[in-house]
Every structure is written in C-alpha cells, then in structure tokens.
C-alpha cells in the first residue's frame, strides 16, 4: 500500500511540475492578494463595526486567508479538476489490484503539496506587502505566516480532499460535481455568519470551515460580531483589532486541526467508495422517462439521397445549428419551456432572467467545451467555416436563447430594458463560455466561472 501511495504521489507531482498552469496558480495568489487586500479603503473591505481595522501583521495574515477563501478556493479547484493528473489512464489502472485508498491518498498528498506551495508563494508575497503596509506598527513575519497558514491551510486541504472525493463517483465527475462544489464553496463562506455574536468554542469554530470569522470577531473591541466583508461603507478612522486573541481563542486551533484531519479522512473515504469509469450496463428495459428523454428511432434512410448542397444562407444555417446544439435534449427543452412560461408571470430581472442564465450556464459550457476539444478542433479546422466564425455563431445563438426565453415577458410588458438584458446576458455568457473553453479545451472552466458570475448576477440588486 505504501508503494502504491508513494508512486501515486510521485507521478502526480511529476505531472504537476510539467504543467504551465501551476506557475499561473503560484502567480495568481500574490497578484490577487495585492488587489484584494483592504488597503486604505480600496480592495475588498473588511470592516469591524463601520471602521477599517488597523493593519497589523496578524490582521494581514487573516486578510490573506480571506483572499484564499474567496478567490483561491474556486481558482485552485479549476486547476486541480482540469489538470493533467485528472486524465489518468483509468482503463488500465482500474483493473489492477492496487488499493484505491492508497491511490486516493497519494493524489490527495500531491494536491495538498501543490496547494501549500501556492500558500507559500502567498506567504512570501504577504511578507513583502507587510513590509510596505504594516510599519510604523510592529512588523512580524512569523505572525503573518502563522495567521495565514492557520486560516488557509485546513481550507486548502479540504479542497484537495473534495477534488479526490469528486473524482471517485461517476455523478460527481460530471458537471453536477462542479455545481455541487460551487454550492459548498458559497455555503462555506455564508454559513459561518450564523455563528456571529456567539462565544467561540470548538463547536462554533467547526462551522467556520473558511476559518476567518473568529479571528475577526473575537479580537474586536466591545461586543463580538458586527463585521462586514465586501462593499461596506466605512467611516474615517481605524479600529484596534486583536487578531492574535481570536487565533488563540478557545477551540479555534483545535477546530483547524480537526478540519485537516477530516480532509485526510475524506480522501481515504474517496478510495473506499471509488467506482470505476467503466460504462454501466443497464438492467432490464429503460424506464418511461429515459425512453421519453431519448431521441427516438432514426428516420427512414433514403438510399439514393443526393449529396447535400450548400446552404443558401450558410452563416444563418450555422447559427441555427449552434442554437439547436446548445439546446440539445428534451430535458433542456422542458426546462426552457418552464422558464419561458415563468418569465411571463414573475419578476424578469430577479427570477426569470437568473433562471434562464442558470440553465444556459450548463448548456453553453457543455456545447462550448465539446466544440473546443483539441482533437475535434483539428477536424473542424478543415471545414470552410473557421473556428472563429463558429464562435461568433455560438455567441449569436446564446443571445438568441436568452431572447427566446424572455419573449413571454416582452409580450406581457414590452420594454427595451428587458430586451437589452436578455440579449446582453446571453451574449456575454456565450462569449465567456467560448473564450474559456477555447483556452482550456473543456467545458469545466467555463461552467465554474459562469456559475460564480451567475451568483453575482443573481444576488446583485
């Protein structure tokens, strides 16, 4: 088992080392930190009461931890999920007697090492930023690193564990897995707010997976609680925040160790519940729903059908084909019809439009991903329509879908705003999906980014 684990770790690390994305990941963390840090009212504001905390070494460490929770958790997920280690030769590997637990733990170890390397890069960047920002107050390298690693390392280990777990089951390997991760990530940031105002204990800290709530509220002067992260309005002046008191508060360090241990346990569990990729054989007749969702029998073949002629409006033809392929499958049509009907009845901006975009986030990323697969691109490049023309048609078709779904709302209350919103959101989503899929060659990156953007659109006033 140890040999398998060691081999799994070594081969995964070797493949990570040869991936250019790793260098990008190591760069994104410090650059993101520079632009997200709450420096004199710019960046992401962390307010205690209505004031900014004084920039001290431990507070800088916690702020960098917040950068990890808000920015790096989805980006690192993107990297781990789409990196080369995921493309394992599973057809061969799955028929070996090697322990799946050992393989899972080996890959988990490699993921953790990569994420901790990113954290180390962020720590060095934090020291440099601290040297610029913290003086004349006491500047302490160890306190920056201690606060950052205590907050972020268990969260990153949890991310690595989820990556291994989500690779273990067929359903979680799919787009549903990405959606579930997105939900878990949002929950990990939002749920700790429930403990705001409570005295810290092991139990309350265990709710705080991201790990930044206690350090922010426990060291605040006066009553615990009342802090805001994001676009808060702040008053002049600074508040004294004793972050070290929060980090050393009852149950906090124990909870961080507990999360690290849970991450290791999840990785081992992933090995135990691992299910092979091999195609499942259906037993018995397919159900009614499966039959209904299937495309049905093919039309009768006409043996002497002539060669297809060129379309008279070839570009329009291409847009039409993209439109059909974005909305392929009866399940999509059923959901689309429901949204279209709902758009006539509910608030368009806050209900119907987000629902349409959520459906299209999956449909657009799926079609963009399949069209941009490297092996397929080599074939489609030989067609008269260049890949860029197809991408333009894809964007037009995306805008067409959101417009179609908004039609009942437009019929009920014709408004340029509604039309503009429908066309604009569809075109923007398609453009993002197409650009990210062409860079990554898969549906995964556009799906996750569209989900994150969708959440922003849905929650915006």
């Amino acid at each position: 088992m140890t040999t398998v684990m060691r081999s799994s770790l070594a081969t995964s690390l070797a493949r990570y080392r040869r991936s250019w994305g790793l260098w990008l990941l190591l760069l994104i963390a410090p650059i993101g930190a520079r632009y997200m840090l709450p420096i004199d009212g710019t960046g992401v504001i962390i307010a205690i009461g209505n004031q900014l905390p004084e920039m001290t070494s431990p507070f800088l460490g916690v702020s960098l931890g917040i950068v990890v929770s808000t920015l790096m958790l989805p980006i690192a997920w993107l990297y781990l999920r789409s990196n080369t280690t995921r493309r394992q030769p599973w057809q061969i590997e799955e028929i070996t007697p090697a322990s799946r637990v050992a393989i899972a733990l080996g890959r988990f170890g490699a993921d953790v090492l990569v994420l901790l390397a990113m954290l180390a890069a962020l720590t060095v960047a934090g020291w440099f930023l601290g040297w610029l920002l913290v003086p004349p107050r006491p500047f302490n390298l160890a306190e920056i690193a201690f606060a950052l690693w205590l907050v972020a390392a268990p969260a990153l280990m949890g991310l690595a564990a989820l990556r291994v777990l989500f690779d273990a089951r067929p359903l979680l390997r799919s787009g549903f897995g990405d959606f579930l991760y997105f939900v878990l990530w949002i929950a990990s940031i939002a749920v700790p707010a429930a403990t705001q105002g409570q005295s810290p204990s092991f139990a309350t800290n265990m709710v705080d997976f991201a790990g930044f709530v206690t350090p922010l509220q426990y060291g605040a002067p006066g009553e615990p609680g009342d802090f805001a992260i994001g676009g808060a309005d702040v008053e002049p002046g600074h508040v004294q925040l004793d972050v070290m008191a929060g980090l050393l508060s009852p149950g906090y360090i124990a909870s961080r160790w507990a999360w690290a241990a849970i991450a290791v346990a999840i990785a081992a569990l992933a090995g135990l519940i691992y299910r092979p990729h091999l195609t499942r054989r259906r037993r018995g007749k397919p159900g009614r729903l499966t039959t209904w969702l299937a495309a049905g029998p093919p039309p009768r073949a006409i043996a002497d059908a002539p060669p297809a002629r060129r379309a008279s409006l070839a570009w329009l033809n291409l847009v039409g084909a993209e439109f059909k392929l974005i909305g392929s499958g009866r399940a999509f049509w059923l959901l689309a019809a429901s949204i279209a009907v709902a758009s006539a009845l509910v608030d368009f901006r806050h209900m119907a439009s987000p629902a349409a975009l959520l459906l299209l986030a999956f449909a657009l990323s799926a079609h963009a991903g399949r069209s941009e697969a490297r092996g397929l691109l080599r074939l489609t490049k030989t067609a008269p329509f260049a890949p860029m023309a197809r991408r333009a048609a894809f964007v037009a078709a995306g805008a067409g879908w959101t417009t179609l779904l908004a039609l009942p709302a437009l019929v009920r209350a014709p408004a340029l705003d509604t039309l503009g919103l429908a066309v604009g959101t569809g075109a923007a989503a398609a453009l993002i999906a197409s650009a990210l899929a062409s860079v990554s060659g898969s549906a995964f990156a556009p799906r996750l980014v569209l989900l994150v953007l969708w959440y922003g659109y849905f929650s915006a006033p």
């Binding site: 495309a295 073949a301 490049k381 030989t382 067609a383 008269p384």
Partner: protein
C-alpha cells in the same frame, strides 16, 4: 530510403475486385499537386521532397508505422503546413487557395475527440453546418451513408455508447457529407470487421469516380487493384507505383 511498391492484389481478405472491375478512374477536372514538400518537427525530418499530383480516383498511402503517412495526409487535409515546398489546388497555391479546397474537402483523421454527449446525428449536423451545407439535405445524405455502412440504426444514440468500430464509421460518414471532391482518410477501415470494411470500401470506390480519394490503410493489398496509384512512404521518402 526509397522503396518500390507492388500493387498486386492480396490473395486473402476482401474481394474488392468483385465490386469494381479494374482501376476506378474517371475523367475529372480537379487536381491536387504536392510540389517538393518537406515536413520537419524541430530538427527531425518526417517527410522529404515529396512530389505527386493527385487526380480523381483512389490513391493509397502505404508504409510502416511512423513513416510519415498520416503527416502527409494531414498536409493534404490542410491541417498542417509543409516546412518547404508547395501544395496546389487546381493550380492555385495554398494557403491562398485553402478556402476553396476546404469547401470541397472531407477529412477523416484516425482519432477525434468525439462529443460523447451528442448523438451521432447531432454531431453530423454540427459538421454539416461547419461545411456550410443545407442541414435538411445533409440529414438525408447522412442517413444514406450510415445505412450503407451499417450505422443507421444507431444514429440517434449518444456517441458515448459507441464501440471503436462505430466511432470509426461515424468519422468516415461525416467526411463524406456534401459533394466532396477531395477525401483524405486516415485508416478508415481500422477496427472494422471484414463485412463492414467491404461496404465502406464499396462506398469509397463509388466516390472515387469523380473525387480524389487519398487514404492510408493496412488493407493495401486488397484495395490496390482498384487504385490509380499506391504511394509507399518509408522513412520520410515516397515511392510511386501507378
């Protein structure tokens, strides 16, 4: 290294001679000329000074694995550019004439990342749209092609459920969509059983009446009697046999 190639028919295998008596050749008004083309990958030379003019009919590319057959086919299919030399379509140089060539080109590579979640028919319509074809007419033609090669019953099934041979037939079928004058096919008969390979060969020979059909194949002995030329590629060099 240059080696000669015999175009004698193999004794065993598929009786193409029964399908087509003699060489399939017809008068055609198209030509694809390779003029002294070479291909290097870094310092490694894959093809050197290859010259040949393709005219309508079947041309086979034979030779050992890694000899440069697929590289030559990719250059014919406009996927890759030669390091040196020219490719001319009806007398006009590529890349200037590439657009015109692509309007009439069908290409079937050895392996494609097929979109697993689409049905074969949806994928074919995607390719037809990119080729600028009428989707309704292309759907009918796809039905006829797949019927001829024994894939029709499965065209509404998802590609994820396809076997290796079915995938190969699908890649072949999309190459034939439209009125193609140039077909570049990389091992279209690999992974196929003898009966299916025979059907596919028959369809190809029919197309070769007015189209340039260039294919790499491990069934050269069986197809050679029907070919207008067999090019043996070995160590980056090409020997002709017509």
């Amino acid at each position: 290294m240059v080696s000669a190639c015999a175009s004698d028919a193999g004794a065993a295998g598929i009786p193409y001679q029964e399908l087509e008596a003699g060489v399939v050749k017809s008068g055609g008004d198209v030509s694809l000329e390779l003029r002294g083309i070479s291909k290097n990958y870094g310092r490694k030379s894959v093809l050197a000074e290859v010259s040949h003019t393709f005219t309508p009919g079947l041309t086979l590319l034979t030779g050992p694995s890694g000899a440069g057959k697929s590289t030559l086919l990719r250059m014919i299919a406009t996927v890759e550019k030669p390091t040196r030399g020219d490719i001319l379509w009806n007398g006009a140089r590529l890349p200037a004439a590439r657009g015109k060539l692509r309007t009439t080109l069908g290409y079937a590579p050895q392996a494609v990342d097929l979109p697993e979640d689409l049905t074969a028919r949806e994928f074919a319509m995607h390719m037809a749209a990119l080729k600028g074809l009428s989707l309704r007419a292309a759907d009918k033609q796809f039905g006829a092609i797949t019927d001829a090669i024994g894939l029709h019953a499965d065209i509404n099934n998802r590609i994820a459920s396809f076997s290796g041979g079915m995938r190969r037939r699908l890649i072949f079928a999309q190459a034939l969509l439209g009125a193609r004058r140039v077909l570049a096919l990389d091992e279209p008969t690999a992974e196929l059983d003898a009966e299916t390979a025979r059907k596919l060969g028959a369809l190809l020979l029919e197309r070769a009446r007015d189209a340039i059909v260039v294919m790499t194949t491990h069934l050269a002995d069986e197809l050679a009697p029907s070919a207008i030329a067999v090019l043996r590629v070995e160590a980056g060099m090409v020997a002709h046999s017509s």
